[in-house]
């Protein structure tokens, strides 16, 4: 039951993009087409789950017992950068098809603050290992959902004639605001 609550809360109520403001850069950057949005969502889900698992284990087995909590930021960012490289190499070797689909997005992910954000959040909220993994997967699904919805709207928006100053980013931000407002309707569900 707890896991279902974590899932609903991370996907809808506390959506990582629309209510936590993490991962805005890819949200605005790679959301012009639904296909690329799906690819980015999948790549983030992949890396987020693995990196949360690894950073959690490092925190609990190395940093906490030795009182090195202050090294958290440095350790996590290096581990994430390293993992992204590793995932890229492994995926390239094992499944060229998957690499074709995710390849472009993988290097972008190390600077996605959602990944580091989730890794730190899990520690701050004092979750168990399984809860953390469920939380990471759900958050990534929430990210993908927001990205795909937004891409769908932007595909339509590209056909509209707008006042000159409003073209591009301003309109994208206002649409994102309306989307966030829609997601606020979920608050109180959990």
């Amino acid at each position: 039951m707890t896991y279902i609550l974590i899932f609903i809360s991370a996907v809808f109520v506390n959506n990582i993009v629309l209510s936590q403001f993490l991962g805005i850069c890819p949200f605005l950057g790679v959301s012009k087409k639904i296909d690329t949005a799906l690819g980015m969502g999948a790549a983030v889900a992949f890396v987020m789950t693995i990196s949360t698992l690894v950073t959690y284990l490092i925190q609990k087995t190395i940093l906490d017992p030795f009182g090195l909590g202050f090294l958290q930021t440095i350790t996590f960012i290096l581990v994430i950068a390293f993992l992204v490289q590793l995932v890229e190499i492994i995926v390239k070797k094992i499944s060229p098809a998957l690499y074709q689909a995710l390849g472009v997005f993988l290097p972008l992910i190390s600077t996605n603050c959602a990944i580091l954000g989730v890794a730190i959040m899990v520690i701050q909220k004092d979750m168990t290992l399984i809860e953390s993994v469920v939380f990471a997967i759900s958050t990534a699904i929430g990210f993908g959902l927001a990205l795909v919805l937004f891409a769908g709207i932007r595909e339509q928006l590209a056909l509209v004639k707008l006042p000159k100053g409003m073209e591009g980013t301003p309109t994208a931000l206002i649409v994102a605001g309306l989307l966030a407002m829609a997601f606020m309707g979920f608050s109180g569900v959990v």
């Binding site: 936590q20 403001f21 850069c25 600077t111 603050c113 606020m184």
Partner: protein, 196 residues
């Protein structure tokens, strides 16, 4: 190298938030009030200035192949220092900015300036560039924070301008951040096209 130009470049022409559109996460996430925006901006400026200076001093010693990880370690070091100092001396601000302090590490502005400016220029110019960009970012965050605080609660920096009942709460919540920033950028685009 014109030092004054280096400094003002970040304030106006290459304002990281309104023109380059970098570092959107803290821009939207921490600007619930003018004070928070100012705090976050200054925190980022501190990291930016320090990392710019250190990277431009060490640029000859860092091998080219590992320069990105090396830059990240330098940036993360200053973020950790900042975290500890803020926790000790400004616990209230540290509490309200929360997760976004460690996330300065992945702020694209900091790494972006290291890569595009500090790696090519002398320490003094890098310091000015860091200060310019940092203040530009601080200005943008403070402006957005004040606008949201005013529309949402009727205050600016906790100074009451109209009764709270008339405030639109939505501007303090998540959707208001997107909408307020969208309109601010639209206004700035409009002003720029008039000047040009």
């Amino acid at each position: 190298m014109n030092y004054l130009k280096t400094f003002t470049n970040g304030l106006l022409k290459e304002n990281p938030t309104f023109v380059l559109l970098l570092g959107m996460c803290p821009t939207l996430g921490t600007t619930t009030s003018g004070m928070n925006g100012l705090g976050m901006g200054l925190a980022t400026a501190f990291v930016l200035i320090c990392s710019n200076i250190v990277i431009s001093i060490l640029k000859r010693l860092i091998p080219d192949k590992v320069h990105i990880p090396a830059y990240i370690v330098i940036i993360a070091t200053f973020v950790t220092i900042l975290q500890m100092v803020m926790e000790a001396y400004m616990p209230a601000l540290y509490e309200s900015l929360g997760l976004f302090i460690p996330l300065i590490v992945v702020n694209c502005i900091v790494l972006g300036r290291a890569e595009s400016f500090a790696a090519k220029n002398n320490p003094f110019a890098s310091f000015l560039d860091g200060a310019g960009i940092g203040l530009g970012f601080t200005f943008a965050l403070t402006l957005l924070g004040s606008v949201r605080e005013l529309l949402g609660t009727g205050n600016i920096f906790s100074f009451r301008l109209f009764p709270e009942n008339y405030g639109m709460l939505i501007f303090v919540l998540a959707p208001g951040a997107f909408i307020a920033l969208g309109y601010l950028i639209a206004i700035i685009n409009k002003l720029k096209s008039k000047n040009a």
